[in-house]
Symmetry: C3
Amino acid sequence: AQSSVTIFGVVDASISSYSNKAEDRKYPTVANPNYFNVGTVTTSRTGLGNSGYNASRLGFRGTEDLGGGMAASFWLEAGLGNDQGTAGKSGLAFNRRSTVSLSGPFGEVRLGRDYTPTYWNDTVFDPFGTSGVGTSLIYSANNGYKGNTNYDRASNSVGYFLPPNLGGFYGQVMYSFHEQVKYTPGNATPDELNNSRTGRYVGGRFGYATGSLDVAASIGSSTVGDNFHDGLTSKVNTWNLGASYDFGPVKLFGEYSQAKNRVSDSITDPLMGFRSPNEPSVKGWLVGATVPVGAGLVRVSYSSVKYDLDEATTLANPGAAFDPIFNPYVSNPDPKANKFAIGYVHNLSKRTALYATVARVSNKDGAGLSVNGDLGFAQSYRPTFSTAQAAALTPKTSTGYDIGIRHTF
Amino acid sequence: AQSSVTIFGVVDASISSYSNKAEDRKYPTVANPNYFNVGTVTTSRTGLGNSGYNASRLGFRGTEDLGGGMAASFWLEAGLGNDQGTAGKSGLAFNRRSTVSLSGPFGEVRLGRDYTPTYWNDTVFDPFGTSGVGTSLIYSANNGYKGNTNYDRASNSVGYFLPPNLGGFYGQVMYSFHEQVKYTPGNATPDELNNSRTGRYVGGRFGYATGSLDVAASIGSSTVGDNFHDGLTSKVNTWNLGASYDFGPVKLFGEYSQAKNRVSDSITDPLMGFRSPNEPSVKGWLVGATVPVGAGLVRVSYSSVKYDLDEATTLANPGAAFDPIFNPYVSNPDPKANKFAIGYVHNLSKRTALYATVARVSNKDGAGLSVNGDLGFAQSYRPTFSTAQAAALTPKTSTGYDIGIRHTF
Amino acid sequence: AQSSVTIFGVVDASISSYSNKAEDRKYPTVANPNYFNVGTVTTSRTGLGNSGYNASRLGFRGTEDLGGGMAASFWLEAGLGNDQGTAGKSGLAFNRRSTVSLSGPFGEVRLGRDYTPTYWNDTVFDPFGTSGVGTSLIYSANNGYKGNTNYDRASNSVGYFLPPNLGGFYGQVMYSFHEQVKYTPGNATPDELNNSRTGRYVGGRFGYATGSLDVAASIGSSTVGDNFHDGLTSKVNTWNLGASYDFGPVKLFGEYSQAKNRVSDSITDPLMGFRSPNEPSVKGWLVGATVPVGAGLVRVSYSSVKYDLDEATTLANPGAAFDPIFNPYVSNPDPKANKFAIGYVHNLSKRTALYATVARVSNKDGAGLSVNGDLGFAQSYRPTFSTAQAAALTPKTSTGYDIGIRHTF
């Protein structure tokens, strides 16, 4: 049996440091005349990290030739927290990918947990591959946006991939079951949030790759909240378009991404009677380049995101309503953030590389993204302000670096 | 070192759907004249499941020849939740089997976590191998019966297996340590439930297999609760008998199983002074068949279980006493359930198969078994009624299907 | 990829029994004239254990030759609870070691979770290798001493090892990041315990091994508690010296170890004005021997530890102050414990062995060590007294045995 199994993996460790600066923009008021402005506060953290260049992982995979151009395959891939000896948060789990497939001239049908089509463009067209401090802000802003747990991967999915022989065209579609209980008759449904359809993902990606060019578009919808009795359904609808072109001495990357949170509820303004617009969104773009230098590779990217906060009646912020009668002048400006990242990878072999990356995020108008974005590892690693400080402080800049080694097997 | 290790496994994924129907059999009474009967409620769930044909798993095993007919072996086998990328509930754990063995002409001594002898008959003589919606009701009713956590497997066990050269006779015995603390003197023992002996299992299985015939009987006892100071010990005592005969065009299966919950306590009826009978039980039987059809296999089974509810003074239901003085007429009828399952497996190769199974359970007199029984995966998958509804509703039928692919490596 | 990965492991299972005896040394007083002395209480536990001879584990490792004497390596090693089918407490996690290395003529740089330098002497110079009931008391007393979680291993570490060609001299240093958040300005730091530096480890080990002799010394410091605003830092500072000499028919072992808990705080006695000494410590020594007997090995050791309880103002016992005014006569004697262990290992092959070990610990003056020390497995296995009894009873002796099999792969 062993001959049919390939063990593979990545162990990537880095000395990393993140630093976040925030400032107090509050001032004494009539209600609180003694308010003391605490000024600027910087939090920083230095330690051993993982996945600075490529995500650390351990996997088992294999393919069986069934004859007639058909094959059956499996792929079990687990994340590793190799800096601390943990394997994921609760022991080795094949949370990165766990699939069984049947492929043939018709393409491939794949069942299990897998990457979403909409995520592929975000990682493929990011010179930093959404790993480490250089990760694109598109990733940072979209990961978990409006409670979306199916941003990069989805469980319980059925996927279909076009066969590879279509003259450079490629594509995939994916449907992920929500696995919520359905009640018949419907009024027997418990009156709770997320009791139906939450967790469903549907999406697709189509592209063209030939020679130096790779271009792909994707579209997807993730159901992030619903309630049967309210008739409420909250979705994050995403589309993006990315491309790369390899000129030889330099390879260019670009991407545009947009995610809208559509809430199809029946809430209307009690005074004005109009229906809320219900379309907060986040839009982002990235340009980047990689430049081969001998056995090394220079990587650079600039990414930018802008939030549209129109959160009047969204699920996650029911109380943050725009109030045209009593508070018509309070209109929060749209938060924005920019990020610049540059790094160098030195390949000791095909399997082993040393790398260094530095990055800086500038937040405006209330945006609070940090260099390490919202990566699972980074979330717990990111310096956090105490509750009282967090309430008083407005995020400004975030800087960080990774210096590490990546070994694949 | 690698040459001594075999990696093996199963990745089995299916599109599965389960549906449970229940009805409200309550009516307005003098105390509650406005009671509104909610009628029939159906709950259903559709999604991607695992282990519909064979249990998904990943394992490592190996054998070392020690010479003189002796060998040392190890076997580490973990369950997989490959539909969601989890590996068991809390990361990859060798919960299916983790043993080290020494074998020779005398047989095999095996230490660790392993299947119980009493479980073997339930799975070997079930045409569906206790996997998926076709799983025998004997499994569904016995798994966890009266809090028995050692139904299918037991930790901390010492097992002995007869050698394979006994002319078709085979057999095994197993003892599983309870690993509770013993206090000396005994009256220093804390007055708590399950402080001694709970968790112990002892059992054996003996059979005869030759040519087309396979027949085996097993007997076992699992200690499910006790209290030193009360002198109370609650056990689930099981015996079963199964057989299969392969006629070539068809292979027939049959099994009878009985589990009694014996509680050796000293509780007597305060009025009548007699000792409670204390022997609730569950009895079940199964008949089934498999029919090879070219590269495929048709599988069919019919199973039935009946509970004896005599729960007067059992540990789990101390208050559910039969009361011969004040409530002599309330005697719940014995719950019963029947199940019919049929399926087809199409082998694409020895390692890869497509399969489909449908099944239906009919519950009577309060039984509440569902198609997917009490499988770990199925438990969380099974539609559940809300608390209020669950109290009002009586389970009726349960139906379900699995359509999937199983790939072994 | 597979060819670059070696799977390795140990499955070690034993029938083990531990027994702890304690006695009530309290008596009736004026305040409690009816006190009933409960005498001697023995708690014992028998079951299937793991890691009695060598720690059960499953690992993946590999090395890539980079040319020029350089190599890259990875090592992922998880502990196994094979008696219960668990893999560590929460599924398979590479908690024993998870590292990536770059090595060359300069030595080796290793990143990740690894053994601490100070632990190596404790295990290398213990004839029982700090596994099973024979484990040295130095291990039992130091593991977790004063809350030290970096006793045997440290996460987030950077290690350096001398190259192997130094004429018998060997050595390593290790630094482990604390990964706490740093606040600028400092007075923005939350006023909480362990908010900075806790978790840091720094240490080194240097030795000489040639022919029959092996001798090594190590020194290390582990930060176990601190508070920015109090200016408090609590460290466990350890040094030890061990040696072994192989005479052929017998190999002798010896070690001395000392761990001091230094607390650099500013607490002074409110009455006397002097600064507290703040140096509780634990000192221990071991002598042992192994004697080859045909295919077997006899192992024997005697170890002893003594605590200095000077806990006036330590972090963990702020209230246990020596009070020179009101209670000058209460001076707890220093707890002491001795342990004798003897065992036999019978090798069936290089990979498979049967073994048996017995051990006895004698506690004096309040020491409460048990035969199984504080091994992860053993902690939950050790008989525990109920809360009330634990408060009343003084530990005396602890005895135990392991009879098992170890299989490596």
